[in-house]
C-alpha cells in the first residue's frame, strides 16, 4: 500500500534538481573569467615593470649608476644625470609632508574627536574630501595665479631680512620650490587625513574613556593615549602621503620652475623626476627618451618601495587592532 505521496510532482520541474549542463558550463566559464580578471591585474603589474625596465635598459647600460649622481642634462652631448631631480623630488615631498602631515593629522583629530557638532563635521569632512577631487592641473593653474603672487612679498621679505639662512638664500621671482611644495601639501592632505581618521576610529572607545577616568584633559587624552594608540595607522598615512607626493606631476611641472640645480633655498626653482618626465617627454628624441625611461624607472623604484612600506605597516597595524 505504500504509495508515493509525491507521485503527482513533476520532478523535472522541482527546485531541487541538479544543475543542468548549461548551468554547470556557465558556472565554470564565469569562474574562469573571474580568475582571468585577477590574472589581468597581475600581468599588468609585471608588464609595467617589464616595459619600463626594458625601455630603460639601453640607458642603464650607457650611463650605469653614474646617472644617479650626475647633474648634467644635455641632449646635444648626450650627457644625462638626474641628481638634481632626485634631490628636488625628495626635498619637495619631505617639505610637503611636514606641512601636509601636520595639517592632515590635526584635521583627522579635529574630525574624529567631537570638536564639531555632527552636521558641521559632515560639511567639514566633505570640504577636505573635495580637495582630493580637484584635478592636479587645476591646482597648478591656481598655484600660478594665486599662490605665487600671494607668497612672493612674504618670501622676498624673508630673503631680505634672513637671507643668510640657506633656506632663504634666493629671492622668489616666480615658480619655485616653496609654491610647489605648498600646493603639494594641499594635495596630500586629504590622503593623510582620511587614513589617519580610519586609524583613530580603530582605537576602542574604552581606551579614551579610561583616560578621561584617570582625570586627563581632552588634549592629554588625545596626545598621550589616542595618538600613540593609533600611531601605526597615522605613520602609514604619512608614508602613503609621502608616496603620493613623490609621484605627483602636473602641479609640480607647472610650479617648480624646471631648473636643474641642487639648492637648499626654498625660493629658487628646482625640478622633480615626475616633472622632468612631464616637461621633456613630449619633445624628446630617441636618445633622450631612453634617459627619461631610466628616470622613470628610478621614480618607479622609489614610489614602489615607499608604497609597499606604507601598505605593509597599514596591514600590520589594522590586523593587530582587529585581533584586540
Amino acid at each position: 500500500m505504500p504509495q508515493n505521496p509525491f507521485a503527482h510532482v513533476d520532478l523535472s520541474r522541482s527546485i531541487s534538481r541538479p544543475p543542468t549542463k548549461d548551468v554547470y558550463l556557465a558556472d565554470r566559464s564565469y569562474r574562469a573569467f573571474a580568475v582571468a580578471g585577477i590574472y589581468v591585474l597581475l600581468a599588468l603589474v609585471v608588464y609595467i615593470l617589464w616595459q619600463i625596465g626594458g625601455a630603460a635598459m639601453p640607458a642603464v647600460h650607457d650611463y650605469h649608476l653614474g646617472f644617479l649622481t650626475s647633474s648634467a642634462w644635455n641632449v646635444q652631448t648626450g650627457q644625462f644625470g638626474i641628481l638634481p631631480q632626485i634631490w628636488g623630488t625628495l626635498y619637495s615631498s619631505l617639505f610637503a609632508l611636514m606641512i601636509g602631515g601636520f595639517f592632515g593629522v590635526t584635521v583627522a583629530i579635529f574630525l574624529t574627536q567631537n570638536f564639531l557638532p555632527p552636521r558641521l563635521a559632515v560639511v567639514f569632512r566633505t570640504i577636505i574630501e573635495m580637495l582630493a577631487a580637484i584635478p592636479s592641473v587645476v591646482f597648478g593653474l591656481w598655484g600660478i595665479f594665486v599662490v605665487i603672487p600671494a607668497i612672493r612679498p612674504v618670501a622676498n621679505w624673508l630673503h631680505d631680512v634672513l637671507g643668510w639662512i640657506p633656506f632663504f638664500s634666493t629671492s622668489l621671482s616666480g615658480p619655485g620650490m616653496l609654491p610647489a611644495a605648498l600646493v603639494l601639501a594641499i594635495m596630500i592632505l586629504p590622503t593623510i587625513a582620511a587614513i589617519s581618521q580610519d586609524a583613530l576610529h580603530l582605537v576602542p572607545y574604552r581606551t579614551k574613556e579610561a583616560a578621561y577616568g584617570m582625570g586627563a584633559t581632552r588634549w592629554e587624552a588625545i596626545l598621550k593615549v589616542l595618538v600613540p594608540a593609533a600611531s601605526g595607522g597615522i605613520f602609514s598615512a604619512l608614508v602613503l602621503g609621502f608616496g603620493r607626493a613623490l609621484g605627483e606631476t602636473m602641479a609640480l611641472a607647472m610650479l617648480i620652475g624646471n631648473s636643474n640645480q641642487i639648492t637648499l633655498s626654498l625660493f629658487s626653482p628646482a625640478n622633480t623626476l615626475a616633472s622632468l618626465l612631464a616637461s621633456n617627454f613630449p619633445e624628446a628624441g630617441a636618445i633622450e627618451v631612453q634617459a627619461l625611461m631610466y628616470a622613470a624607472l628610478v621614480l618607479l623604484a622609489i614610489t614602489l618601495i615607499v608604497n609597499v612600506l606604507g601598505i605593509g605597516i597599514l596591514t600590520m597595524t589594522t590586523k593587530r587592532s582587529a585581533v584586540k
Binding site: P135, S136, M250
Partner: protein, 291 residues
C-alpha cells in the same frame, strides 16, 4: 524625593589658571585654526574658478575649437569631447575586468594566495604615480602603434581606474549579508548564479560608487595623457589620432603669454571640475545607504 547633594560634589570644572587646563584650551583653539586654514585652499580654488572661469562662460566654449596665438574668442569643444571619449573607453576596459576580478576576491577565493597577492598589488597600484602609467603606455603602445592616439590615452587611464574599481567592488560585495548568499546556495544555486542573482544586484550601489569614484579620478588626470594622447587642435575624427583633452588644454594654455588663452584655461578648469564633481556627487548619492 530628596534632591541630590550637589554642593557636596567637588567642582570638576577646571580653571584656566591651571596650566593643564590652559594648554588644553590653547590646543583646542589651535586645532580650530588649523582646520579653518585647511579649508581655505578649496574655498579659494572654487572662488577663482567661479570668478575667473565663469566670466567667459558661453555656448562658444563648447562648440568652438581652441584659438591660436593672438586670436580672440574660441572654445574647447574638442577637448571636452576628447576627455569624455577617453574616459568612456577607459571605463569600457576597466569596469568589466575590475568587477570580474573583484568577484574572485570577494566570493570565489577570498583567502587564496592568489587573492592575497592580487589585493596587495591592487593597493600598491592605487599609489602608482599617474605619470608612470603614461610612460608605460608610451613604451607598450605608442611605440608599437607608431603614434599618439586616443586609444593609448584611454588605456593609460584604464590602468589607473582598475585598482580602484577592484578594491571598492570587493568591499561592496563583502557587505552583502552572508545569509542572503547562504539562502541562495541552499536553493541549489551554483556559485555563478549566487554572484549574478544575489551578490551583484545587492552590491550594485557600492560597486557603482567605486566606478564613479574611479571615473571622477581619471577624468581630471593629465599626466598620463601628456605623451599617450598628446593634444590636437581639431575635432576628434579617429581613435588612432592625437586627441585633445581638457586637462592638457589647461596645462598648455596656463603657460601661454596671451590673456585670452589664460581665461580659457580658467573656463576649462571650471568645466573639468564640474565634470569631476558631478561624478563625485553621483558616487555619494548612489552609495548612500537606503532607509
Amino acid at each position: 524625593m530628596a534632591a541630590a547633594p550637589v554642593s557636596s560634589l567637588p567642582n570638576l570644572k577646571r580653571k584656566l589658571t591651571e596650566s593643564r587646563a590652559l594648554t588644553n584650551y590653547l590646543l583646542t583653539i589651535g586645532a580650530w585654526v588649523v582646520a579653518i586654514i585647511a579649508s581655505v585652499p578649496l574655498l579659494s580654488v572654487l572662488y577663482m574658478l567661479i570668478v575667473k572661469g565663469g566670466s567667459r562662460f558661453s555656448l562658444d566654449l563648447f562648440t568652438e575649437l581652441p584659438p591660436a596665438g593672438f586670436e580672440m574668442g574660441g572654445g574647447f569643444g574638442n577637448a571636452i569631447v576628447g576627455t569624455l571619449v577617453m574616459v568612456a573607453l577607459a571605463s569600457a576596459i576597466s569596469i568589466p575586468t575590475g568587477i570580474l576580478a573583484a568577484t574572485f576576491l570577494a566570493e570565489l577565493g577570498p583567502n587564496s594566495k592568489l587573492a592575497t597577492t592580487a589585493r596587495f598589488l591592487a593597493k600598491v597600484l592605487t599609489g602608482f604615480p599617474s605619470i608612470l602609467a603614461g610612460v608605460f603606455v608610451y613604451a607598450a603602445i605608442v611605440l608599437a602603434m607608431g603614434g599618439y592616439s586616443a586609444l593609448a590615452g584611454a588605456i593609460a587611464l584604464s590602468v589607473l581606474m582598475l585598482p580602484t574599481i577592484i578594491l571598492t567592488a570587493e568591499e561592496a560585495m563583502k557587505m552583502v549579508p552572508r545569509k542572503m548568499k547562504d539562502a541562495a546556495i541552499g536553493m541549489g544555486c551554483t556559485r555563478t548564479q549566487v554572484i549574478w542573482k544575489v551578490v551583484l544586484p545587492t552590491g550594485m550601489p557600492g560597486i557603482l560608487t567605486g566606478v564613479m569614484l574611479a571615473v571622477s579620478r581619471v577624468a581630471g588626470e593629465s599626466a598620463p595623457l601628456l605623451f599617450t594622447a598628446l593634444f590636437s587642435n581639431y575635432w576628434l575624427s579617429s581613435l588612432s589620432e592625437p586627441t585633445a583633452s581638457l586637462s592638457i588644454l589647461i596645462y598648455n594654455f596656463s603657460s601661454m603669454p596671451f590673456e585670452n588663452q589664460i581665461e580659457l584655461a580658467w573656463s576649462a578648469s571650471l568645466v573639468l571640475v564640474l565634470i569631476v564633481l558631478l561624478f563625485n556627487v553621483l558616487s555619494r548619492l548612489i552609495g548612500r545607504p537606503k532607509i
